[in-house]
Symmetry: C2
Subunit: 218 residues, 2 copies
């Protein structure tokens, strides 16, 4: 109950859509920053990354004003603020259940395992994989060690890449072990308590959405 109230207090302040935009602005600003620029206007930012300048101004205005007339936004100041708002001021340890092609691809995917996220373990039931490491050095443990590793490695986020019929069981075990955010690649809707955030990344469903648009053009 206490947990439920906590969520009501915090979560509605930024919707998922806005969160996605803020995450995108952060990515773009970090790119600009790496090139050495200190300031950027909403118009330049919009032009360069094909965004909407009015939307940028509106979104960023929620978090105080950093824009100077004629100069633009102080990039470092917004980056700090965006990271704070997005909860990216510390590192999240992440486990991946399922060390198939996809699990391994995710674990080794460039740029995932940097800054705010650290993929600390893959878990699989295939004994031939258990005890080995991915190319970038992420260890694969047996799926029976899931609870133990989540506690030991202080994990709060989990990725599911196991087959459909194992997905709900993994989700249950994730939740019971203290994981609070789940990214699910299995093409099935998993059931979790209301205080757990899930993101579904079902490729086939995304392809179907594309197909809808493409079919109208043929």
């Amino acid at each position: 109950m206490r947990e439920d109230k906590e969520i009501k207090k915090h979560c509605p302040c930024v919707s998922e859509i806005i969160t996605r935009r803020l995450s995108l602005y952060l990515r773009c600003l970090l790119m600009v920053n790496r090139e050495g620029d200190e300031y950027i206007s909403s118009r330049e930012l919009a032009k360069r990354f094909h965004l909407n300048a009015d939307q940028i101004r509106k979104d960023l205005s929620y978090f105080g004003t950093f824009g100077k007339r004629g100069v633009g936004y102080n990039i470092e100041a917004i980056v700090v603020k965006l990271k704070e708002v997005l909860g990216l001021t510390h590192v999240y340890n992440v486990v991946i259940a399922g060390a198939g092609n996809l699990g391994i691809a995710l674990a080794d995917y460039p740029r995932i395992n940097r800054d705010s996220f650290k993929i600390v373990a893959l878990l699989d039931r295939d004994n031939r994989k258990v005890g080995t490491k991915t190319k970038t050095g992420i260890p694969i443990y047996h799926i029976s060690e899931l609870e133990e590793k989540i506690e030991e490695l202080n994990v709060r986020m989990g990725i599911i890449t196991v087959p459909v019929d194992a997905a709900q069981n993994i989700a249950d075990r994730f939740v019971e072990s203290g994981i609070r955010g789940i990214m699910n690649f299995a093409p099935v809707r998993i059931q979790v308590p209301p205080y757990i955030k899930t993101i579904s990344a079902d490729f086939k469903s995304q392809l179907e959405v594309l197909a809808y648009y493409v079919s109208k053009l043929m």
Copy 2:
């Protein structure tokens, strides 16, 4: 210009959010159908797959009424209708640019390569991979053959899993070769003409959205 008008005529009728829901209903109904049931009520469907019964009734009512009072929906009739609405009545040939871990994982991912989608080729610049096939038998061609393969294999949808700095070039080549729907896994926003539909599947950005929620619970 003609193309633009065509889109205006067709596309606004079902929004992306509804399309995603319809795609999900289709998945659920196909599962129920495989078990041999002929009818299902919106309430049962909602309960079983954790959906909203009112929403189901509302969404499906757009496409005519298939529900019988006390019996429910005729599953086969809705499946046919949903496939028609979603443009899934024929097979889409798909190419994947980038035969790294992710490209290969996608090509071999269970259930993607079935029904409405056929991944016909991977394209890569690594000569060691060119000429080989994935586990499920999808051939890998040299990236220089992209235009040729798209035409030869009658491809209208493309998936980008190349590194960030190559993504825009691939998108341009896709569009020029006649591809109309792009699923982009590179963590960058690609620029395409307005009549091209793109879906961004940037993992890191999705993890950041998760992090936002998880951070509120810690």
